[in-house]
């Protein structure tokens, strides 16, 4: 192994020494060639020297000529500037009050532009915006034609704002569709198309359908027209007006419980009224024909007992009748207290809702302070709405309880106090 390695080293060494010898020879050759070339160039430069001097002289001549020209131009510039100053003062003198006028034109058109962008008339002719924009944003002095344009534009605007007009305009419906159809516009106040009211949106450059239309009581039929004298502010406020469903939702869980109890109570009371009325009419009929008792009403049952025991001892008769009357009274009065309970419970639940709402309000106050009344509004509306619901449920329940109790009182009194006397009288 080492033998091979040594042979390898020797061979490499011999190769390398050969190369170095060649390199030395090459460099010596190259150097002699370069020296010859340098010599040649040097000779050339020496020959050209006189030519260069001539070129330099030519360049200097041009420079002096140009600097003379620059001086001449500078004086002209100064002269011109003086002239310009003179002219400008002349212009200012001549313009006089007109400068103020252009300022006020610019201001007026800027004011008019903001009004125009918010007004319904912009839907009629949206490209007219450019007329007003031209002045508001430009620094140039307007010419007489442009001023006339502005003047006529404003006049037209004034006339239009006092007119009722029908025209085609771009509309954006509540489902997002863009259509072009006929619109009726009353001055700057309202715009209506197809029974729907619209408001102008400058960003969309179109009339946008109001998300909450004025209610039918205000007249959204075709032959009536609602005018919003505040130019759309009232229509916007309509959006904030909560509907009945919103109000009920504000009542929260307690509100729903009250509604549930109220409905149950009223249904039960109604059922009870019907049943009692049926019983009462049957009894009335029975009173008219005391000698033909039927078993389908309480009085008939009592008469049957009376007839059965009327020849017995008075005490015996009384005991038997009392027993029957008690049984019937119970049946008549059943469920009456349930209605009374509900009529007492619903205002209490309303009060509960009030208190929980107030707790929510005070929580909002501890978290956010009293600065923003809108944050407290949620709790307060829960409080108030539950109270309203409680009262609204309690009042009809109270009436129906009165009706039920007076009706059943009537029935019971006929059975109890009058039963025996009436029967004895008829003997």
């Amino acid at each position: 192994m080492t033998k091979y390695f040594l042979i390898f080293l020797l061979s490499v060494n011999s190769l390398f020494s050969l190369d170095l010898n060649n390199l030395l020879k090459d460099i010596q050759n190259d150097a002699s060639v370069q020296i010859k070339e340098e010599q040649k160039r040097l000779n050339e430069f020496k020959e050209n020297e006189s030519k260069q001097k001539q070129l330099l002289n030519e360049a200097k001549a041009i420079l002096s000529k140009e600097s003379k020209k620059s001086e001449r131009l500078k004086t002209t510039l100064d002269k011109n500037e003086e002239l310009l100053m003179e002219k400008e003062t002349l212009l200012n003198q001549k313009m006089g009050d007109l400068g103020e006028m252009f300022g006020s034109v610019r201001q007026t058109s800027a004011d008019f532009l903001t009004n125009f962008q918010a007004s319904l008339t912009a839907s009629h002719n949206p490209q007219k915006e450019e007329v007003f924009e031209e002045f508001a944003n430009s620094k140039k002095l307007p010419n007489i034609k442009q001023l006339e344009n502005l003047w006529h534009g404003m006049l037209e605007e004034i006339v239009r704002s006092g007119n009722v007009e029908k025209y085609n305009a771009n509309l954006i419906l509540s489902n997002g569709d863009r259509v072009n159809q006929e619109v009726t516009r009353v001055g700057l106040f309202s715009a209506k198309s197809d029974g729907k009211y619209f408001d102008y949106s400058n960003d969309m450059k179109a009339l946008v359908e109001l998300s909450t239309q004025p209610s039918t009581s205000l007249g959204s039929s075709d032959d009536t027209f609602v005018i919003d004298p505040t130019r759309g502010t009232l229509f916007e406020l309509l959006n904030n007006q909560p509907t009945l469903m919103n109000r009920i939702q504000q009542g929260g869980v307690v509100g729903y419980i009250i509604i549930f109890l109220g409905v149950i109570g009223l249904l039960f009371a109604f059922y009870k009224m019907v049943v009692l009325n049926l019983v009462f009419t049957k009894m009335k009929k029975q009173i008219k024909s005391l000698d033909a008792p039927s078993d389908n009403n309480p009085l008939g049952k009592v008469i049957n007992i009376f007839n059965k025991y009327k020849n017995h001892d008075l005490n015996d008769l009384e005991v038997k009748m009392a027993e029957t009357i008690l049984k019937e009274t119970n049946r008549v009065k059943k469920g009456q207290s349930f209605v009374k309970l509900l009529s007492a419970v619903t205002p209490l639940l309303g009060l509960l809702g009030t208190v929980t709402g107030m707790i929510a309000t005070f929580q909002a106050i501890t978290l956010f302070g009293t600065g923003d009344p809108k944050l407290m509004a949620g709790g307060i509306s829960t409080a108030l709405i539950t109270t309203v619901l409680g009262l609204v449920a309690a009042i009809p329940l109270l009436f129906s309880y009165t009706y039920i109790s007076s009706k059943s009182g009537r029935i019971v009194s006929i059975l109890e106090e009058q039963g025996m006397g009436m029967l004895a009288k008829s003997l």
């Binding site: 709405i385 009262l391 109270l398 009436f399």
Partner: protein, 172 residues
């Protein structure tokens, strides 16, 4: 002169809102019922009682049922006097409740205004406040006036019933 009072009245109703109309309706109902009761007590009932006593003869009925018949006659008279009385009582109870309803709806109005315009605009809230207070006051006034006459009526009915019992006892 009357115009001024009518004007005042209509502006009063405008301020009170819808609930005040309900109170007004209840008040009319209540007073009609009360008036009807008083009229009956002094005219209709007198007639009924005189006729009853005129037709009453001791020999008409079996001896052993006499107590029962007496009770029946008194109860019948009482029933006639008391017709609608419980309804009057309910109306009197309901009056302040409706007033309270007005308070709450008025307060809702106030808070609606607050939610939209903030607390700065006191004048806008005043409308809701008057809607809250006027029906409450009206409800209270009606209930108080009603309760006075209703109690008076109850006393008269009790007196009349006892008197009838004594009168019948004298005959039978």
């Amino acid at each position: 002169m009357i115009d001024i009072y009518l004007d005042n009245l209509s502006s009063f109703f405008d301020k009170g809102g819808v609930v005040l109309y309900i109170v007004f309706f209840i008040a009319i109902f209540l007073w009609t019922l009360l008036l009807d009761r008083y009229v009956y007590l002094y005219f209709g009932y007198k007639k009924y009682r005189n006729e009853l006593l005129k037709n009453l003869k001791p020999s008409l009925y079996e001896e052993k049922f006499k107590t029962a018949i007496k009770e029946y006659l008194v109860e019948d008279g009482k029933q006639r006097l008391k017709t609608g009385l419980s309804f009057i009582k309910t109306l009197i109870i309901v009056c302040p409740l409706v007033g309270l309803l007005g308070t709450v709806t008025g307060m809702i109005e106030v808070f609606d205004v607050m939610a939209i315009q903030g607390t700065s605009n006191v004048k806008a809230m005043a409308n809701g406040v008057s809607m809250a207070t006027i029906p409450t006051m009206a409800g209270m006034v009606i209930a108080l006036s009603g309760i006075l006459f209703e109690k008076r009526l109850e006393v008269s009915i009790k007196y009349q019933t006892e008197k009838l019992y004594l009168d019948i006892s004298k005959v039978l």
